[in-house]
Every structure is written in C-alpha cells, then in structure tokens.
Homo-oligomer: 309 residues x 2
C-alpha cells in the first residue's frame, strides 16, 4: 500500500569520536524514506529544501523509489541545517548549530497524486505542521504513525496533544515518554500516552532495544543488536520508524502481531544506520545483508523452554 512520509530533508554536520563530516544529507524524512524503501516501493515524500540542496541527493531518493513530487524546493532559501557533536558514550550529544531556514515557515502541501495513501508517517516536525498534513488528506489513512521530540513538549505541548489525539501510533524514546507522561516506569508512561490518543505506543531505548505497547495491554520487547561500534547514531530513530511503517505498508496488516514483526525490521534497519556516518549504510544495502541481520535479531532472544521447570 502507498506510504506518505512527511518530515525534514536537511543537511547535517556530525562529529563523533570516530571522525567528523562536512554537510551531508540528513533529516527525518530522508532516513524514514530510505529505510521504508527496502520494504515498499510506493513512498511519497512531503518536505521542503532550499536552493542549496543537490539534485544528486534528490535523485538518490528517487532511485529508492521515493516520489519527490511533494518535495518543495525554495530556490532563494537554504535547507534546514543541524550540526551536533556526540560524546564518547554516544548516548548524549551537544547541538552545535540549528538553522531552521526553509523549515521555519514550512507549509506541507500534499500533491493530489498522494491523496488516498493508506499509511502516513509523520516524522518529527512542529505538531501543528503534522496536524495540517492530516487535515489536508481527503481520506484518513488506515494507519497514522507519529514521531516527535522533547523540544515540542517544552514549547508546544497543547499543539502536540491536539495532534496526538489524531494518530494511531506514537514513536518516542524513553526520556521523551517520561517527559510527556510524567511517569518514570515505561509501562505507566505508555498507558498515560495511550490515554492521550495513540492506541499503540513505541518506546525506543536506543542500545537497550524498543518496547511496543498494544491497545489491549500487550507488550512486545525487541532488543537492539549488541554492536561492537556505534559509529554515528544520527537518524537511527527515524530509520527505525521507516523500517517499521515500510514493513506495515508492504504487508498491509496493522495487527499487533504484525507490528511486532515491523518493530524487528525497524530495529534491524536502525542497526545498519549506526554503522556509518549519516545515510551511508542505508543508501545501498544488499537484501542478503538485511535478511542475515534479521536472522541475528531473532537468534538473539531465541530460547527453547521445557514445558515446566
């Protein structure tokens, strides 16, 4: 089924203990689109870039089957730019530069050809912009997944809650879940967030895996692969979301059982993402490597138990 991805397409400049990059392609929608393209061939992008964005980078997305009709190009403006430096443990980072540029007044125009999409991924953006997209769809998608971050909880909580009430799945990290719910225990946090709207909540714990909370109290836990090196965590959460919704769109099955599989595929995609700078690993990922990574994930928690002790 067709998938609509909304979010930033941007430039990042990254510094990790392993090195640093000049401006490279980044942005939530870039990672989501690339990751989902390994599962579904109908990815429609809504985003905005400036005149500084390279045609080659747009073509890279197109080669992955991403429809860029909805990618606005503001020739006289600059693309969103973020620069950050990761600490030695890779779990914390300092933002060095944030230039909103074209994102500052982003009006998410949905091309007519995108109408009727069945799966919608709202990448991290101002909650009011995310909501505008939903309002501009003539038909409500079968599944709406939303990502957000603590920044919006601090400056636009009312807006965020209004958008939250309209989505099916929220994907946040553990700290964001705690901040949004004012609950420390993630089980309680998820329940409070479910009461705000999204019947399904994903809580990402980075190197500690991800939890999926279903509408009937179901819980699924997917580990992260224990990696020897996390080269660059940028985009891992978006890549996860892209694998998740890409798999759901390709199978067109939104049951909890299928979401469990989607979480596992999303985790596998994220485990690739962190192995290189930026999108490097996602741009050309052989199918066989993906399959073998998924096998490692399932092997990691596989245990055969006797019927009773």
């Amino acid at each position: 089924m067709s998938l609509l991805v909304v979010g930033s397409v941007a430039f990042d400049a990254l510094e990790t203990p392993f090195g640093k990059t000049d401006k490279i392609v980044g942005g939530a929608a870039t990672y989501i689109s690339l990751a989902s393209s390994y599962f579904t061939k109908h990815v429609n992008l809504v985003s905005v870039v400036g005149g500084d964005f390279q045609q080659a980078d747009i073509q890279m997305l197109q080669r992955h089957g991403v429809d860029t009709t909805g990618l606005q190009i503001k020739q006289d403006q600059k693309s969103f730019f973020w620069s950050g430096r990761y600490h030695n443990d890779m779990n914390s980072r300092d933002t060095l530069v944030t230039e909103l540029n074209v994102l500052a007044d982003f009006d998410p125009i949905v091309p007519d050809a995108y109408q009727g999409c069945q799966y919608l991924m709202l990448g991290n953006l101002a909650p009011s912009v995310q909501r505008t997209v939903l309002q501009r769809l003539t038909q409500r998608p079968k599944l709406v997944v939303m990502d957000t971050m603590n920044f919006w909880m601090e400056i636009a909580l009312a807006d965020l809650k209004e958008t939250l009430a309209m989505v099916d799945v929220l994907s946040v990290n553990d700290e964001e879940a705690r901040q949004l719910s004012s609950e420390y225990a993630l089980v309680k946090a998820a329940r409070k967030i479910q009461a705000m709207g999204p019947k399904t909540v994903i809580i990402k714990k980075g190197e500690h895996g991800a939890l999926l909370f279903g509408p009937e109290g179901q819980i699924y836990f997917c580990p992260a692969l224990p990696l020897e090196e996390v080269f660059d965590p940028t985009g891992a959460g978006d890549t996860f979301a892209g694998g998740f919704i890409g798999y759901l769109a390709s199978t067109d099955d939104t049951s909890f059982e299928n979401m469990k599989r989607a979480i596992l595929y999303g985790s596998a995609m994220a485990s690739f993402c962190v192995e290189r700078f930026g999108t490097e690993r996602l741009v050309n990922l052989p199918e066989a490597e993906l399959q073998s990574r998924i096998a490692r994930f399932t092997e990691l928690t596989r245990v055969e138990l006797p019927l009773a002790v």
Copy 2:
C-alpha cells in the same frame, strides 16, 4: 546436583522512595540461596554471621532446604551490615553505612559434607576469599560461577584477576564490565573478560535485561520484565545469579542452550525480588506464580517471522 553457595549473610537497612526498613536479612548468599532453592533442593551455604543474627532467619533458610552447616556464627561479633538509600530513579543509590564486622576476617571453612559439590556460586566477596574456597575443594566443581563488584576492581585488581582465571562464568553488571575491561561496547568488554579466564560472561543491565556471552562467540539476550514499580532493587543481581545457578544445578547441563534457559529463570526470579523490600517476595513464592512469570518473559520477545520479507 549439589550446589555450594558462598557469600555474605547480613543485615541491610534500606530506604527507597516507597519507604524504609529497619535491619532486615540480606546478603548475597541469602538471596542466592533463596532463589536457587526454587530449582534445586541441595543448597549448601558457606558464610558467617554474628551473635546478633536471629535463629528464625537461619530457620527460614533451612525451610528452603538450605544446609547451614557451613554458616559460622561468631557469637561475640556482629553481622555484616549495609545501609543504603535509593534515588528516585532506582538506578543509583548512596551507601549510608558499611560495617564489615564478621566479614572483615572471614575464613570460609568448607564442611567435609560439602566436598564433591558439582556447582559452585561465589557470591560477591573479597576475591582472595572466593579463591580460598576454590582451593579448599578437594575436587573442582563442574561449574564455577563468580560475582564481583567494582569495589574489588579498585582495591584488589590483581587478586581479582587471579580468581577470575579460575572460574567458568563471571556475572557482573554493565558498569562493572566496562570498568574491568576498559571497553565501552559490551560485546568488546565481554571478549576481553573472557580472555581473563571465564569462558562465559553474563552482563546484567538491570531494567534493560541481561546478556550472555558464550565461549564460541554466541550471544543471548534476555529482557527484563517491564515493571510498573521497582519497589526495592536490593538483591536483584544475587537473586538473578541464584536462579541461574539453581536451574543449572537442577538440570546438570552446562551447555550454552541450557544457560540461556537459566538466564531466563534468573531474570524471572529477579523480577519478583524487586517487587518488595529485601527477601520478602522470595521467602514464599508459589510455583504457579513462577511459571506464569516465566511465560510472560517468553511472550515478551516472541515473534513469528515469515521466511523472507
């Protein structure tokens, strides 16, 4: 098969956000013995307490089938005492009081009747004391599991390494693994620790589960149960170790596949431990609750995948 447990039997005074206790029974060997008693009925204890220790508490251990012949009682001395206060997140704590008392010059005497034990659990103690126990066994056990903590890495590293070289399995938490190996990534940390002696390494990550690293590069990950409330984390690591070695001793199978099951049973026991203060939950745990908890653990990561995407 018979299991020998060596470690502290002590008093703890605990303070958590949920309340505080007077002096209650604690100590690594107490938790290990209690947890293992749910799997094997041949638990032999080597430890030491003072004259202040209650006969009722020794009887509690005996009711669980624990042989206390090796529990020395120093009538004119006091039992080891630890007091601590947990922070709101339950992941960090301050030690308020540590009184070594009888532990200061603990000479671990192994009763003749304990000789020939096949499974040995060396709970956290001075590494030289742990080593002494091994040296006093006329026959090397089939499996020796050792726990330790960062304290010994700081003040007795050479001693610790000497003992490490003699054991089969080391159980530590993530921070201890990192300190011991000087590696941040746990995969690398485990490999370095394996090179120090123990062919199998368990890295406990608290609420984030536990990793088991096998002698041939195998990795198994067992999640922790997402709990609504962690009432008191004291003893969780020892309870985990007790369930682990208790299950191995009962099945008498030290293969990696069986160790995976043992990790799961250990995790299940630990999930009970943290639900109440101290040993409260472990003292009387119905078999049906244990089985239902284990089912929840397996359900948590269960996912059926198609053969290919």
